[in-house]
Amino acid sequence: MAEAEESPGDPGTASPRPLFAGLSDISISQDIPVEGEITIPMRSRIREFDSSTLNESVRNTIMRDLKAVGKKFMHVLYPRKSNTLLRDWDLWGPLILCVTLALMLQRDSADSEKDGGPQFAEVFVIVWFGAVTITLNSKLLGGNISFFQSLCVLGYCILPLTVAMLICRLVLLADPGPVNFMVRLFVVIVMFAWSIVASTAFLADSQPPNRRALAVYPVFLFYFVISWMILTFTPQ
């Protein structure tokens, strides 16, 4: 009996020691993750600060938007069927191009009776009403493109024709004649084809295959009318 009492005494003294040791280990391990959790939210908050644009200067905002418009212009000049123009749509480019084209189509004379060319309002209405009509036509035919994406593409693809208008303005500074007209005709035809290719590169894939021609023809007519207005422009 004395031996039995001694034998449980030995494990009794051994068992509480590892228990205490375990508790101390657990407390030590708990301290470390607390420190980690404190630092991680601060990092995410810093990221949130980086992503937000409320505290940036107006100059940075304007420069970023101008860069986006410039990128879209480059996509129009070199159409590669990319989705950038469709994904991040805006109407700044169409507005700039439409106003520029309408202003350049105005004549220098103030005589309203002799001036039979398109007025600013007429050019503006034809461009925007034409784009809206083509967009509705695409959606009615079952196209899977949103309203403003279509307006964005049609508006940006006026860029080649605006360049053609600028070239015609410069060419008309010379003496008018058949050669002058031929040069302008060639420039307008090339830029007209460029606009068609660029716009169909973006819009053709959004239409059902059996109705692609029905969706492309209004685009052709739209740019044809603008080309006609540019080609028949004659200054005073």
């Binding site: 002799k114 001036d115 039979g116 060319g117 398109p118 007025q119 007429e122 036509n137 959606k139 009615l140 035919l141 079952g142 059996n210 109705r211 692609r212 021609a213 029905l214 023809y217 209004p218 007519l221 044809f224 009318v225 006609w228 207005m229 028949t232 422009f233 004659t234």
Partner: protein
Amino acid sequence: MAAVDDLQFEEFGNAATSLTANPDATTVNIEDPGETPKHQPGSPRGSGREEDDELLGNDDSDKTELLAGQKKSSPFWTFEYYQTFFDVDTYQVFDRIKGSLLPIPGKNFVRLYIRSNPDLYGPFWICATLVFAIAISGNLSNFLIHLGEKTYHYVPEFRKVSIAATIIYAYAWLVPLALWGFLMWRNSKVMNIVSYSFLEIVCVYGYSLFIYIPTAILWIIPQKAVRWILVMIALGISGSLLAMTFWPAVREDNRRVALATIVTIVLLHMLLSVGCLAYFFDAPEMDHLPTTTATPNQTVAAAKSS
């Protein structure tokens, strides 16, 4: 050997015991193959009829489902309602354009090409193309006519686009509306076998204007005779298309009313053609008068002598 004989005898005995008499057994044996072929052709006949009935039932269910689908999409304030008017493929539009250019005598344009699926794509974009074709051709024609004059300075007349749009869209949509109202009114009095919906009438009128797109482009040629020949050709083709389409809808009516209707349709069409030619394209002969101003007395004398 005896056992074998006994077995055979037992089999025959079993058959005899199963039936009352041997002759009856033999007659039953003959009748069984007689009955089975009767059943065999009978069952497929019945099954065929049942299958036919099932097919008919399926067809009925399909039709009811289609009708239900069409009825469900009836609210006009939704976008899907208007998509049904543009439910047309490229080859269908091309077929209808070819059908409008080659009217076949005795064939109905609506039944042959539209087939109860009128679209608004053709009428709308044919009118849009015709508006710009007439405006641009008119400007080009006037430019070519006055090109030789030294005092002439080309000025684009952009207002022609607005006027052409007003005239052509008014004709292509208001005349079908009036014709539809008239046909509805006459149908309430005299039941016609053939009746058209408003969309079908708009569709016929829209596609009938396609011939005027190449005609307007050819009107650039500054020859009066050529222009009138082109007017006659275009008027003949589209006028015959309209007459052959709407004659079945009014022939059941009074003879005078039917003829008056067809004549009115053709006269309105003629008015559109001649009006566009006269307004948007300057007459070539007007140029000769200023060039002959040097000898006005001689021209007056020639007129007096003749």
